[in-house]
Each structure stands twice: as structure tokens, then as C-alpha cells.
């Protein structure tokens, strides 16, 4: 596979991961359980949106066909989206939202730390900004996992259920394919081995403190990187892309 094509695909994946999760968290705006959490989730959404803009701008530049970040975000359909399935899952109750964030953050932070050493200067620079934000994110979601798990019987049960429902989507975070190995050989993306170890360490520590059980690795969902999604993404994009589809080229 050609390096440039692989780099384009990777930027789309990272852009779509951050953008889709950002949109999901933005759905909580005005609906947070308490004001501080409403602000926390929208702040996180904003951080992720900024990261998505960086990746998608860069993707457009790498592709060299004149597509802007907005073209890539609003004019690709569901099959063109290459985010992992974890981030597109509906928010559910607050335990589901937090568990989704936690599993994402536990992977995202070590991934970004490793991306700092990328031979691609722009990816290293994007990580340089994002790693600080992801540190706050993981801390936030970890604290809530502990509060739910080690809280009331009801909150414990809901957090455990959320982990159970979402665990199947964690396998995809550590998948490699031709795109990934092409970039890894060029020193552009990191070895996933140490990232998986860091993920396991965080998950085990936090869940132990939260008195929650780590789900067993059984069937792991896949396909997001190839544009095969759960039914939830299409609905989300329908809402997110409505304006650009109905009024092409509309601007602020």
C-alpha cells in the first residue's frame, strides 16, 4: 500500500473517532445530570472537535484533492466513515456515557503519548496538544467509574451493565491492518503492544478501585475501519449532516 494513501486513511480514522465521540458528548448539552457535568461533557466535546478538525484538515492536505475539513465531515456517508464502533454507540444512561468515555480514554491517552514520537511532524504536533487534554479526560472518566462502581447498589449495577454492553467494542481499538502496518513500518504510528498494556493497566486499576468486574474477552466487534457500522451511526450522521445536505455550502 502506498504510504500517502495509508496516511490519509489513518487521519480519517482518528478524525472520525474524535468527531463522532465529540458529537455524542455534545448531545448531552443541556441534559447533563448536574451543571458541572453538563459543562464537563461539552468541554470534552470541544476538545475532541478541535482534534477532529486538526486530523481532517491534515487528511484533506494529504489527499491533495482540495477537500476541506467540512467536506470530509459533512459530505461522506456512513459507509465512508471509518471510526471505531465504540464511539458511535448511543449515550444511554450516564453510566453508559461515562463507561464509553473511560474505555476510549484508557486507549486514547497512551496512544497519543506514543504518537508524540511519530516521524510525521504534523501527527506529532497534533498529539502534543491533544495529550494534555486526554489526561484531563481520563481523569474525569476514571473518577466517575469509581463513583458509580463504589456508589450505590443501583449505580454499581448500571456501571457493570454498561461495561458489559460496551466491552465488545474495545477489540477494534487494537486491530491492525494494511493501513496500520504500512504506517508502522515507516515509524509514523506506534506499536500497539505497549498501548494495550497501558490500557489493561488503567482498566484493571480503576475497575478494582470501583469494585467492578472486568468483562471477559469474548466476541469482539469489528468492521468500523472498513465503513461497516452499527445501525446507530447512520441516525447520528443524519442529524449531524442535515444542514450541509439540505443547504450545500451553507456557512456561518
Amino acid at each position: 500500500m502506498e504510504l500517502n494513501e495509508a496516511l490519509f486513511q489513518f487521519c480519517l480514522r482518528r478524525g472520525d473517532d474524535t468527531h463522532v465521540l465529540s458529537h455524542r458528548l455534545g448531545e448531552w448539552c443541556g441534559h447533563g445530570p448536574v451543571l458541572e457535568e453538563d459543562m464537563a461533557l461539552t468541554n470534552r466535546a470541544l476538545d475532541l472537535l478541535g482534534q477532529a478538525r486538526n486530523y481532517l484538515q491534515y487528511a484533506g492536505q494529504v489527499e491533495g484533492k482540495g477537500r476541506s475539513e467540512d467536506d470530509l465531515a459533512y459530505l461522506r456517508n456512513e459507509r465512508g466513515y471509518v471510526n471505531c464502533k465504540l464511539v458511535e454507540q448511543p449515550n444511554g444512561d450516564y453510566a453508559h456515557t461515562i463507561a464509553k468515555c473511560f474505555l476510549f480514554d484508557a486507549w486514547h491517552l497512551p496512544f497519543l503519548k506514543a504518537q508524540l514520537d511519530s516521524k510525521d511532524e504534523q501527527l506529532a504536533a497534533i498529539a502534543g496538544k491533544a495529550v494534555k487534554e486526554a489526561t484531563y479526560h481520563l481523569r474525569h472518566s476514571s473518577e466517575w467509574m469509581v463513583r458509580f462502581g463504589d456508589g450505590t447498589e443501583e449505580s454499581h449495577q448500571r456501571a457493570q451493565q454498561a461495561l458489559h454492553d460496551l466491552w465488545t467494542f474495545t477489540g477494534e481499538l487494537f486491530e491492525t491492518d494494511e493501513v496500520y502496518t504500512t504506517l508502522q513500518q515507516a515509524g509514523i504510528v506506534p506499536d500497539l503492544g505497549p498501548i494495550k498494556e497501558a490500557f489493561d493497566r488503567t482498566v484493571n486499576e480503576v475497575l478494582a478501585e470501583a469494585t467492578l468486574k472486568r468483562p471477559e474477552d469474548e466476541f469482539m466487534a469489528s468492521g468500523g475501519r472498513k465503513g461497516q457500522h452499527t445501525e446507530h451511526l447512520g441516525h447520528m450522521l443524519g442529524e449531524m449532516q442535515f444542514l450541509q445536505r439540505a443547504h450545500p455550502g451553507a456557512q456561518w
Binding site: E36, M39, A40, N43, R44, L46, D47, L48, L49, G50, Q51, R53, N54, E121, Q122, A124, A125, I126, G128, K129, A130, K132, E133, T135, Y136, R139, H140
Partner: protein, 162 residues
């Protein structure tokens, strides 16, 4: 003639739209100023504070407007991600103004503590007490955390250390 000093003088007037008491130089986001003295063309390079900071687009537009209105014939504002901005780049004057405005300024390189997951010791900008607690790491804007003073009981914003 348009000189680099003149541009820096003008940048003094461009405020952070979210914290209008400090300007872009005090905030430490101006990475470089280049002026072609013959044509008067100015290139100002700025760096984002936080990745998703919506104020950056406004700052870029404000810089353009300020310079063009002052008679600089051509202005380009470039965005550069690297090296990443840190709160250490806020000048001493900037930190003092933040405090007077009621926002606890970031402690120097306290990011080590933040990265280790510990809360920094933050002084209440109202009464100076160090007996304070963080209510939420996410405040009214992407760059601020929400704190409370246990002595004067007032809530306050803290500029997060990065």
C-alpha cells in the same frame, strides 16, 4: 514605515475575546512576527492554547482587523501547532491581570502535578487563601477549571495548567 516594533505595539491592543483583560502577547500565543519593510506585508504566527479553543479563530480575525485598520497593507495570520503552547508562556503581567480579574493564574509548570492526577495548590484570587478546593476540572471555557475558596466561600475560575 511598518516595522516589527510597530506590529508588536499594535498587537498590544488585541485582547483574548474570552478574557478581555489580557492581550495576545501576554497570553503568549504570538509565536512570530515577520515584516517585509519594503511592501509592509506582515505575517503573524500564532499557536492555539487549547485544540478546540473557539477563541483562536476570533483572535486571528482580530489581529488581521487591528493591523489592517492601522494601515498595514497586507496581513497574514498563520496557525502553528508546534511547539505546543503551555501556560508557562503567559507573561508575568498577564498572570497579574488574570488574578486582578478574579481568575487564579496557572502555577508555573504545575502540569507535572496535573499529569500525575494531583490537584495543584491554588490561591483564591479574592482573599489569597490557599484553603481552596476544585469543584470541577471543566469550567466556563476550555482553559478554565472551577474552584471554591473554603475561607471566603466564593467560587472562582482557575486557568488550567498545561
Amino acid at each position: 514605515m511598518i516595522t516589527k516594533d510597530r506590529i508588536l505595539e499594535l498587537l498590544d491592543y488585541v485582547k483574548d475575546p474570552e478574557i478581555p483583560v489580557i492581550n495576545v502577547l501576554e497570553l503568549g500565543v504570538v509565536r512570530g512576527v515577520e515584516v517585509d519593510e519594503e511592501s509592509g506585508r506582515a505575517v503573524v504566527t500564532i499557536t492555539p492554547t487549547y485544540t478546540g479553543c473557539p477563541a483562536m479563530d476570533v483572535m486571528a480575525a482580530d489581529i488581521r482587523k487591528e493591523l489592517l485598520e492601522a494601515g498595514v497593507p497586507e496581513v497574514e495570520v498563520k496557525m502553528s501547532l508546534s511547539p505546543a503552547w503551555t501556560t508557562d508562556w503567559i507573561t508575568e503581567a498577564g498572570k497579574r491581570k488574570l488574578k486582578e480579574y478574579g481568575i487564579a493564574p496557572p502555577e508555573k509548570t504545575a502540569d507535572i502535578r496535573a499529569l500525575k492526577g494531583e490537584d495543584p495548590v491554588v490561591e483564591c484570587p479574592q482573599c489569597g487563601s490557599k484553603n481552596t478546593m476544585m469543584l470541577s476540572p471543566f469550567g466556563s471555557t476550555a482553559c478554565k477549571a472551577l474552584w471554591k475558596c473554603n475561607d471566603c466561600l466564593e467560587p472562582f475560575d482557575q486557568f488550567k495548567c498545561l
